[in-house]
Symmetry: C2
Subunit: 770 residues, 2 copies
């Protein structure tokens, strides 16, 4: 029984000993270095680039400007291709952009023999611009007089969407009276992913084809986007993904691989690398979208949710990237997590601006949506005068819920159990009571938030995954996945799944962690929380096929019908008695080398996944706030997850810890600060306040394990969920502690102190600094 | 129609531009260097190794001696594993040998940060030996008083074999009188392969497994032998074969990969490389076996071959390597190429000595066997007084011949046509007449030789091959072979074959030239002349499967029965009309991204080949010999080959040219000179007389194209055959020119002059130097 086993990570040895090969470990000896020349304005147009001085720098091989690239616009998000044009991603950028839309936009590149020469030359390129006023907020960009950031998008609206559920009309219900009306505006900030390994790739040509080795979550999609960007056949492009040091969604965008591929073609196919600095990574790659929610709600005195109205504005930044899919996702959790007895009206906008581009990040709009939803629900419970946990239990998504638009359903349901588990853990009822009437400079509070999260992307997008298994001569297996290990532990759970479905022991399963689009099975990659679910189904399907092929060979050799046998612990056994009939080692040796019938047993299968299911959970927080210094201390925190059956509980717990840490950063301090010229001001890890290990409290994780019938091994989403409910739970605990509704993230000391002063909790300015 | 097309090599671009990655191009940045410590005696035992001084050399990381390696003996030849112990290769060496059997034997290794430190340290290791008299010749080694080189082999006989065909008894037929009796001893020398790329590998550990990147012909076999040598599971070993710069059989031995893998385990898995110098390559790797043939024959006055007796002695050198398989092959051509009306008696011995170890080399014993056979047949024709071409036509292998022991048959037969084609080209009849009675210092002659060659190794060994095809999103194909491109053009003909069998154009077939035993289909590798035949069958089988899968998908989409469609020029077409129904690009896009039915179309199949067939051919030479200086000038030379249908005539011609050049080196000057202590004296390319481009005459190739029913595309052996008949043809032309029977190779100036002096063709010693 491999499922549910706390198996040690299959890559632990390699990572601990430093022998795991990441992209930068693989640079060829003669690799050139490319540095991107970045715009020093956020909105405008490059008029000219004078490269004469730059070309004089010794070691410079080539300088390419935005005037030298193919006139092809391409999209960057890591979505599967759609055969329908209307569902294709927005192609709104070129390899290098003459029309500048963000500060640090890619306007040129220097290729040189070394880093120093490349950097020096990049600084010596003289650029003249036509400069436009940067549009930094959604309001500014949507203003009637605003200039267009992309010509083809009037009003700078990338996309908008809306729906209504239920009969009736929100405004009429509001006017009818008798209901409690609550409204608020909730805002989230731009944050960065802060993966350990920066975006890095190198590219070279081989036999008329381009090879790109890159730290990506989506090797097969990178291949396709390079093909689009360069106008080259996909078969002529090969993408290799080595070990990856984290991505969290930033590497679900095809950031610099197309440019890197193009640069390799300019130097006769010689290898060229692009390794972003930490500063470029923070300032010039994708961010979590800053989204503003204008929310209204009506409840009756019994605490029944009657009606809600949702309006969301997502600040897209300069390029579409994942665009409205994020905003739509945020609107979805508002719809899915609670059901209104009356009506729900929803409208969403995604708007181009000149701040750093928003893209995919763990949770994909749901951390924002859950912050809005769960802060608002808390505020409604507050207005109704009801315990917020009770209010949630009364109104939240019920067992059997099915999204009316997408059809995604709760095939397993543990949400209320999660709430009860957290309630008990944190001693909710006692502490809600105990901390109800505090005074003084240091106060405590408990708060909570719940969430739901769909597992894959079906039916919004295609979900497809393939797997290949190869029997080795010693009866061990090579497991080849299209799905990507990016640090999250995928390879370990894939190995366990393959063991479960074949009877080959996990120790004898050798998974290929490198993907190579030339030979790896196809899979769209590491995003959503799809891989254990969608790619897991491919393992299960392939595993059963592989097993049947092995048993067919055993049947031929042993003259026993295949259905009377099984594979257990690396041996073909009698299904009934469990007696060993033939070890897999002996069978494999025979299969390879038999003079009668030699066959190399492999199996390969695609699983087209047409299922999806909701994972749910809750976060409970107890905090202490030092009002004069505006400092929050987390006294206790737990995430309780309903993620179906756990493949590897220890890895699941680690996944939860990582997500909670990310959620705490989001809640308490992280924010990419953009100045009035659209320039990021804290694009480094000193000034960007990501929590360190020293800032992080003990993290607790618990699970409600209910097997999901649609999951290949009873499992459902766990990758992204842990990051979701932390920020609203902290916000709600702070409300409990102080009575103050903070509606904007992050809850950093400056924000708190300013608000406490305004609210009179800090009496004099001086006090705040005692 | 791809078969028969002169397609440009698929690797031409990469090789011409220098972007093709060979093993040494892939060294990791932190790669350590290992140097083998070599014995300075040819026969004896290492008593002690003092490494103290060597360890003091800065940069030395580790020194390992023959006393530190696992006590495991393993075999080195590139043969498929046999499940029957009696058919397994001889395991007669360790990673490092305490018992020294050849000069330069591997007795230790230094691992250092760089080449210089490694070399310096290797020289500082003080070795004391127990020294035995080196046994250099078969006679010395077989002498009753000879010491044993390997304890387990009394008389130093590695193996012997014998057979008799026909009734009667050679001695009785001889004594009966009335028949013409001819006898002679024919000897061949040790020669080296002289591949451009020396043996080179590097190894490292990854997640508890060993990865070896190596220039080999047999990646899957290397994996197995490393597993044997280290006593590790095969699944924990991964072998990668990059581009290879030639092997000619030397890389069909597992030379240093096991040691390299072992060394990587001693330095915590850090990469270590072993790159042999040219001198080590020439002096310390495998050689073509020196074989001595004692031959006797009886013919009647009409020129009918009545009986023959064959005794062969193969000088194996210090280790078994391919051992008696080579000698047995040489005995086979004597049997197969001519049929005796009476009896054939054959006896062969392979004998350990202390000269450099014999291994596989292009032709695998047949160049030696053909020299013996064809010199002897020439001498028989001479004795009978018959034109040697006519004598051959009368007695040679006939259409429909079937080997009585192996069952290998002529499924297609072009031998006599080859002879006639060569006869016409060289103006045989006129020149045999014209050069019959020459005098003077410069004389001309024409000579010829024929050969036959089995294509694969069935039924002697297992013949098995697999192939995988993957449909890309653009309708192009990845072609993954277990078979190895080693410079011979395999990838190009495989591509053509795949195009032929699938309807996908060759331009859209991307073959994987690197083999990676983790994911590449299984195949025993590049040896014999098997790949276009055996691996070609796997392509054909996989191609048809792949095509059927594509048509099944097309059928589903188009609602047309699959058998009414075909694939031509990258499109699904109506079988009858040829009208395009769907391009493969459109079909592939749909198959990948369909929301109805997404499937990644791949096909993989094993072909267990139980066929074999004879290729045949002839070489015709016209030469001029300058008697006083002993110099032969080739005036004209042609090889005519019966190799079935040619996949790529231009590549076939190039293959023939290469083989002829190798044959000329063998005939005219190449010889590894071994001194009385067993030391190679000319192990460098200055002293080892390999012909240069300047030494090489215009080479002509012609073909008799008869499709072979057993070949996947009508093809049969061509890789090795061109090297076979050249040396005897030259020898026979020299006989024609001078009347002197030279029975030992090579025919170098010193040999010729000494013999001419002895025979009185050079009258005084002084004259020779005029």
């Amino acid at each position: 029984m491999e499922i549910g086993k706390n198996r040690r990570r299959v890559d632990a040895w390699a990572k601990v000993t430093g022998t795991a090969k990441y992209t930068a470990d693989l640079y060829p000896a003669n690799c050139l270095t490319a540095k991107v020349i970045r715009s020093t304005i956020a909105n405008g147009r490059v008029v000219s680039m004078d490269v004469r001085e730059a070309l004089k720098v010794p070691g410079v091989v080539k300088i390419v400007t935005c005037f030298d690239v193919p006139d092809i616009q391409f999209p960057t998000p890591g979505h599967p291709w759609s055969v329908e044009k209307s569902h294709q991603d927005i192609a709104d950028r070129k390899l290098l952009n003459e029309r500048v839309r963000v500060y640090g936009d890619d306007i040129g590149a220097v290729i040189a023999e070394d880093e120093l020469a490349a950097e020096k030359a990049a600084r010596l390129v003289r650029v003249t611009y036509e400069t436009y006023e940067p549009l930094l907020s959604v309001e500014a960009a949507m203003a009637p007089e605003a200039s267009r950031i992309h010509e083809e998008k009037p009003g700078n609206i990338v996309a908008s969407s809306g729906f209504k559920i239920g009969e009736g009309d929100f405004d009429r219900l509001k006017e009818d009276g008798g209901l409690i009306y609550v409204s608020g505006t909730y805002t989230t900030q731009s944050v960065q992913h802060c993966h350990l390994e920066v975006p890095v790739s190198f590219a070279y040509m081989e036999a008329g084809r381009i090879v790109v080795v890159t730290s990506t979550q989506i090797p097969h999609i990178v291949r396709r986007v390079i093909s689009q960007a360069l106008g080259m056949d996909m078969g002529k492009i090969r993408v290799i993904k080595p070990y990856v040091g984290g991505g969290f969604g930033n590497k679900q965008d095809v950031l610099y691989e197309p440019l890197n591929a193009f640069l390799a073609t300019l130097v006769g196919g010689r290898p060229v690398k692009i390794e972003l600095s930490r500063e470029e990574t923070l300032g010039c790659t994708r961010v979590r979208h800053a989204i503003t929610f204008k929310l209204e709600g009506l409840a009756d005195k019994e605490g029944n949710l009657i009606a809600r109205r949702f309006t969301g504005y997502s600040n897209q930044g300069g390029y579409a990237s994942h665009a409205h899919a994020i905003m739509a996702n945020a609107a979805n959790i508002f719809k899915q997590l609670y059901q209104d007895k009356g009506v729900l009206e929803s409208k969403s906008y995604t708007v181009y601006t000149n701040i750093p581009t928003g893209g995919a990040m763990r949770g994909y709009g749901i951390p924002q949506g859950d912050f809005g939803t769960e802060a608002f629900i808390e505020d409604m419970a507050w207005a109704v005068g009801m315990d917020p946990l009770e209010f949630r239990l009364k109104n939240c998504m019920k067992a059997g819920y099915k999204d009316p638009h997408l059809g995604i359903a709760c095939y397993s349901y543990g949400l209320k159990d999660c709430m009860e588990k957290g309630r008990a853990y944190i001693h909710w009822d006692e502490k809600r009571e105990a901390y109800a009437h505090q005074t003084g400079p240091v106060r405590r509070g408990v708060g909570m938030a719940i969430f739901c999260y769909k597992t894959g992307v079906h039916p919004i997008s295609l979900e497809t995954a393939s797997c290949r298994m190869i029997l080795n001569q010693d009866g061990s297996m090579q497991l080849q996945m299209g799905a990507a290990e990016i640090g999250q532990g995928a390879d370990t759970v894939f190995t366990q799944m393959a063991a479960e479905s074949t009877g080959i022991s996990a120790e004898k399963i050798h998974i290929q962690t490198f993907q190579d689009t030339d030979v790896s099975p196809f899979d769209t990659g590491a995003y959503a929380s799809r891989q254990t679910y969608v790619s897991g189904k491919a393992i299960r399907k392939t595993g059963l096929l592989f097993k049947s092929k092995i048993l067919a060979y055993a049947s031929e050799k042993l003259h026993i019908p295949g259905d009377g046998m099984d594979i257990r612990d690396d041996a073909v056994v009698d299904k009934e008695s469990g007696d060993i009939l033939l070890t897999l080692g002996a069978l494999a040796e025979e299969a390879f080398y038999s003079l009668d019938h030699s066959v190399h047993i492999t199996a390969e299968a695609t699983s087209h996944c047409k299922d999806n299911t909701f994972a749910t959970g809750a976060c409970f927080v107890e905090l202490e706030v030092d009002i004069p210094v505006g400092k929050i201390k987390i006294r206790d925190i737990i995430n309780v997850h309903d993620s179906g059956r756990l493949i590897n509980p220890k890895l699941a717990e680690a996944q939860v810890h990582g997500g909670m840490s990310m959620g705490l950063g989001y809640a308490l301090g992280e924010k990419l600060i953009i100045d009035d010229q659209g320039r990021p001001r804290n694009a480094d890890l000193l000034d960007y306040k990501m929590p360190t290990a020293m800032d992080t409290p003990d993290l607790h994780a618990a699970f409600v394990e209910i097997a999901d019938e649609t999951g290949p091994y009873g499992n459902k989403a766990l990758g992204e969920p842990p990051a979701i409910p932390v920020a609203p739970a902290v916000r709600n605990a702070l409300l409990h502690a102080t009575g103050i509704h903070f509606n904007a993230l992050p809850l950093d000391p400056q924000t708190l102190v300013e608000r406490f002063m305004k609210e009179g909790l800090i009496e004099t300015e001086g006090t705040a600094y005692v």
